[in-house]
Amino acid sequence: MAPIIRMVGLTKRFGGFTAVDRLDLEVEEGEILGLLGPNGAGKTTTILMLATVLKPTEGTVYIGPYDVTKEADKARRLVGVAFQEPKLLWVDSPWSVLNWHAKVCGLPSGERRRRIRWVLEELGIWDVRFKSAHSLSGGTRKRVEVAKILVQRPKIAIFDEPTAQVDVVGKHKIWGMIRELRDEGSTIILATNELHEADVLSQRIAIMHRGKLLVCDEPRRLKDSIPGGDVVEVSFEGGVPEMVTEELRRIPTVVEVSAARQNQVKIYLNRAEEALPRIAELLLRLGLQAKSMRVSEPSLDDVFAHYTGLTIEEAQRR
């Protein structure tokens, strides 16, 4: 099947700063593509170019058959974006925002009312539909923003951090509705910095860091691509002495050791069960007290760390 979105060397510079750096990425029709990366990775800027809000500095993106640098008006008709920051004026009410949005997207009046009611009820904000935006909580405003696209049901639906500030129940509801939209045939791009969200929703995940695409694949395969099939996390009471990582690397099945957090090392290795006694032995020999030792499967965080040397949390802070 031909991809419905095709980014070709997509680049955006703001002055001398490169926010999106030569992105080459294709999105298949009918999939949910997770765009995962820490704050500042360039996810939102990429989305704004897909939505024809920003013009690429270099390269382009094809939305269906349309090149956004040449046929922006046609490209725009296929896309709907639920923005990261809710786009509401203080005086707007959820009802008026959604009604106007649906109207401008060409929905006839009966269908409009039916869909808006359904989405507002599903998201639990039907009761506040006539309140003005300034009296609504951040989570509610975010739901209104997401509701726009759930009402519109565009061919290509883009959600920029759709559940930031939304409570757990709301999160699951939104995830369910995004899946439903995909099942009806929409293609979905989901930008997020939450590993779990990307993991549970996406068919494929594209990981971005500092404007660059690091890798794009199915979550399962991303995790499998981590050298060593297992991860052992060892936490210490105090800091981690430099020589510990050196010594750990000498254990034959160990592939990689990284000091993920201050008091913790992550050991990527094969056959953890064989290596565990040797790790314990080593710590004992060095006179180090381990607070905990945990064996797990690699997560997306490990995938991110593998490519950047940083956990997502650390990358957020920079």
Partner: protein, 261 residues
């Protein structure tokens, strides 16, 4: 090509915002009524017969018609402030992402702002017509349509300048200066007969003059006109199309570059 339905949906959003400005509307109508009842009436007594003749016999009538046009102009300019408020809330990006072309967006908003401005000065138009009367319903509706075209053009001007400046402080200053000069260098408040010739030259090509002339024509103050109505219409159409065109071009170029933030 523009789709009229989409243009109207865009326009409707700005028209509807009129409902939120009820107290402001009341305040401006009260200000207008007081200005006419005091200044207009008293100034009328201050002029000699031959002076009044140059204004069609009554300064009060001349003044009230001109005031309507200046109020219409300053109301239409408001759309620029809306553009800034939307930029502050990030709504610009939302508007740019909608399945609407840039031309439909700018034209729709200029129409919306034009209609909104005309409705806003509606009560003032009623006060003015109460004082002046009108020769015929056809003449009046033609002249009101021209006022709409003028407000449409002034809205395009405001959107153009807002998109070009991107700073609401600079916009405020520039539009304040333009407002002060454009109103004073027009025949809105006094006829060209009393202006020094270098002012008169500018006044005779000023869209505010054209609009004032056309409203006076609709209100039956024909002896007070500077420009023949047909020429004034041409002037207003030229004014409106220039700024609609510039508005579309600038809105697109400046905003999509991403330098708004």
């Amino acid at each position: 090509m523009m789709n009229p339905k989409r243009v109207w949906v865009v326009a409707e959003r700005d028209v509807r915002s009129l409902l939120r400005q009820k107290s402001m509307l009341a305040m401006r109508v009260a200000w207008f009524a007081a200005q006419v009842a005091f200044f207009g009436l008293i100034a009328n007594y201050m002029f000699r017969e031959d002076v009044l003749a140059a204004m069609g016999g009554s300064y009060l009538e001349y003044y009230v018609a001109g005031m309507v046009v200046t109020m219409l102009y300053s109301t239409a300019i408001f759309i620029g402030y809306d553009v800034y408020e939307e930029a502050d809330h990030g709504v610009v990006e939302y508007l740019l992402s909608l399945p609407v072309s840039r031309r439909e967006l700018v034209v729709g908003r200029s129409i919306g702002s034009g209609v909104r401005s005309l409705l806003h000065v509606g009560p003032m138009i009623v006060i003015a017509l109460y004082l002046t009367g009108t020769p015929s319903a056809l003449q009046l509706s033609t002249s009101l349509f021209c006022l709409f075209l003028f407000a449409f053009g002034a809205s395009g001007l405001s959107i153009t300048v807002a998109a070009a400046l991107k700073s609401s402080d600079r916009f405020d200053i520039l539009m304040g200066v333009v407002d002060a000069l454009a109103v004073r260098l027009s025949t809105a408040l006094y006829p060209v007969a009393f202006m020094p010739s270098y002012y008169g030259g500018l006044a005779s090509i000023n869209p505010i003059t054209f609009a004032a002339d056309l409203f006076r024509w609709g209100a039956g103050l024909e002896s007070a006109l500077l420009t023949p109505p047909l020429l004034a219409v041409v002037g207003i159409v030229a004014f409106s199309s220039t700024f609609t065109f510039l508005g579309v071009a600038l809105y697109e170029r400046r905003l999509e570059g991403g330098g708004w933030r």
